[in-house]
Amino acid sequence: MSQAHTAKPHLRSEHLLGLLTDMTRIRRFEEKCAELYQQEKIRGFLHLYIGEEAIAAGAMQALTPADAVVATYREHGHALARGVPMDRVMAEMFGKAEGCSRGRGGSMHLFDAATRFYGGNAIVGGGLPLAIGLALAEEMQQRAGIAACFFGEGAVAEGEFHESLNLAELWRLPVLFVCENNLYAMGTRLERSESQPDIHIKAQSYNVPAEVVDGMNVVAVEAATRRVCAAIRSGGGPALLECRTYRFRAHSMFDPQLYRERAEVEEWKHRDPIDRLTSWMRETGALYDSDLEAIEAQIAAEIEQSVAFAERGHWEPVGELARDVYAGEAVP
């Protein structure tokens, strides 16, 4: 927690409890999703955020409702942290019409207009140009919002990363780039795909201010994001945070993880962002067993309710198959 002193202090215990709750809520949700996947309630691809919760939970603290958020196919945590109701996220996992994308998107395509959550993009790098445009729209309409774009380190190999960083800086747009560097693009380790594996250096080569953040430390993520967002909001142009993190689970439910050593996974688990915050709070007397029990109970109830909501939801009638392809009209 050594970086925390650089933050405007948000270390009041209720705030820390909030961060702990946000991260735990994401983790328990993801664990439930894995279980529901085994039960075949959730199908298709399922990419879990377990291990990386500190990034979404920390970064979202610095965003306002006016900001736009773009995320990837590993975005359940971002949607929850952004405030998309868990009921609707879970219903989307099930493919029900009550889902946050009416069931049309599924796990990889969570959308929510009310929280300005622009998806859920399953083409690696595909969300970055959207964030540029969303930021441009803010600026051209003299609105105060910024665009926050989350993506993995795999996206850095895509041309869209480079095109987007260049354009964002060239036009001095209010974009927060959050690179969630979990070391593996599916099964390809960063060093095996990048001649320059320090991602923040690439950003700096486009004159985009960039810094490395311990992505396993939610307070550090929040502090860095608040600091960087303040600069973006005061007209400083875009910025990039490279959050170093690790995915504890497989890439997707189909991944046998042949590309990494179990020991490496275990080593990273010692840096578990939830355990770290928990023990730090205990040491400083900011957390009691009763708090933890209350958090877990509250989350368990919310998850149970979300599963019930999803179960109760209905399958969209096949007769509505062609809706939402075009606006307001059925087009052959």
């Binding site: 959308f111 207009a113 969303l134």
Partner: protein
């Protein structure tokens, strides 16, 4: 200008449509490669930077994916962007954004978000620009649900389709054939607006229907003129909109003439012309007196030398021959 009728080129008609849109709606802006200082690689946007400033006439880096994606994002954020891509060939660098984002976001979001974006691009051959600047790939885009694809061929459509495209809440791709920019003619001040829903009969006839769009419209009209001299009255249907196709206008004509020839500068295999032929077959098979004919580009990358380029493209003589073949003449 006399009596509200003025001589205008296709290029100037497109420019006027952009000017009008910029004047009418503050949310409209234009971005693309060399649209500002240079004035557009086909000089369509010349003068707009001076008139509207660099905030609304935005020169972009050569980053098709980023600026097309930025157009999508800006549309999501409440703007009405017009994105210019120099040619359809370069649009392949933005294919991911067009196909995976522009066309899908409304659907994937369950109808919560819409992408009211217009993308203009040049298409087609005829300027000896060889195999990376001359292809007609609009038929590919017409394959994609979620996109609208329009092909203004006449001055009126060049002048007024943009307004209809900007009002449309869906992503609309406008294809401007490079050989049309210099065409000029009279455009009356009281023309327009036009829709982007329907095909139109450009020349009535009763013996054979010639179906075409965009750059081949005038070659097809020339062919119809030649045929007329030989007593064959060809009806020319300008599709105008490649997606969604106006099957009604197309089929009404074919049912009347009982013969159809499709003229398309795209290649034949797996093409828009194949789609049109199939639709005629599905809906009007028993009305046909002859197999549906096609005149398409030769299945080669467009070559550089003039004589080979001309040989690769649909020409009036081939259209006349195909029409006669349909008539069994």
């Amino acid at each position: 200008m006399t009596n509200g009728v003025c001589e205008i080129t296709y290029r100037d008609a497109v420019r006027e449509s952009i000017r009008e849109a910029l004047l009418a709606d503050q949310r409209v802006f234009l971005m693309g490669e060399d649209v500002g200082r240079y004035g557009g690689c086909y000089a369509v946007t010349k003068g707009l930077l001076d008139e509207f400033g660099s905030d609304r006439i935005r020169d972009t880096p050569l980053s098709e994916s980023a600026f097309v994606g930025a157009g999508i994002g800006a549309a999501l954020g409440g703007m009405r962007p017009i994105v210019e891509i120099m040619t359809v060939n370069f649009s392949l660098l933005a294919l991911d954004q067009i196909v995976n984002n522009a066309a899908t976001i409304r659907h994937m979001s369950g109808g919560q978000f819409e992408v009211p974006l217009v993308i203009r691009m040049a298409t087609g051959a005829g300027r000896q620009l060889a195999a990376q600047h001359s292809h007609s790939l609009e038929g590919w885009y017409a394959h994609i649900p979620g996109l609208k694809v329009v092909t203004p061929a006449t001055l009126e459509d060049a002048r007024f389709m943009l307004a209809a495209a900007l009002v449309d809440p869906n992503p609309v791709l406008i294809f401007e054939h490079v050989m049309l920019y210099n065409r000029s003619g009279l455009l009356s001040a009281d023309e327009g607006p036009v829709d982007i829903r329907s095909a139109i009969v450009r020349r009535p006839g009763k013996h054979v229907t010639l179906v075409t769009y965009g750059g081949t419209l005038f070659k097809t009209l020339d062919a119809a003129e030649t045929l007329a001299k030989e007593g064959v009255e060809a009806e020319v249907v300008d599709l105008r909109v490649l997606r969604p196709l106006d099957g009604e206008t197309l089929l009404a004509s074919v049912r009347k003439t009982r013969r159809a020839v499709i003229v398309d500068e795209g290649w034949r295999s797996g093409s828009l012309s194949a789609e049109i032929s199939a639709r005629i077959m599905e809906a009007a098979f028993w009305d046909l007196d002859a197999p549906v004919g096609r005149v398409c580009s030769a299945e080669v990358p467009i070559p550089y030398p003039h004589h080979l380029e001309e040989a690769a493209l649909p020409q009036s003589a081939a259209i006349v021959a195909a029409a006669k073949a349909a008539l069994g003449a």
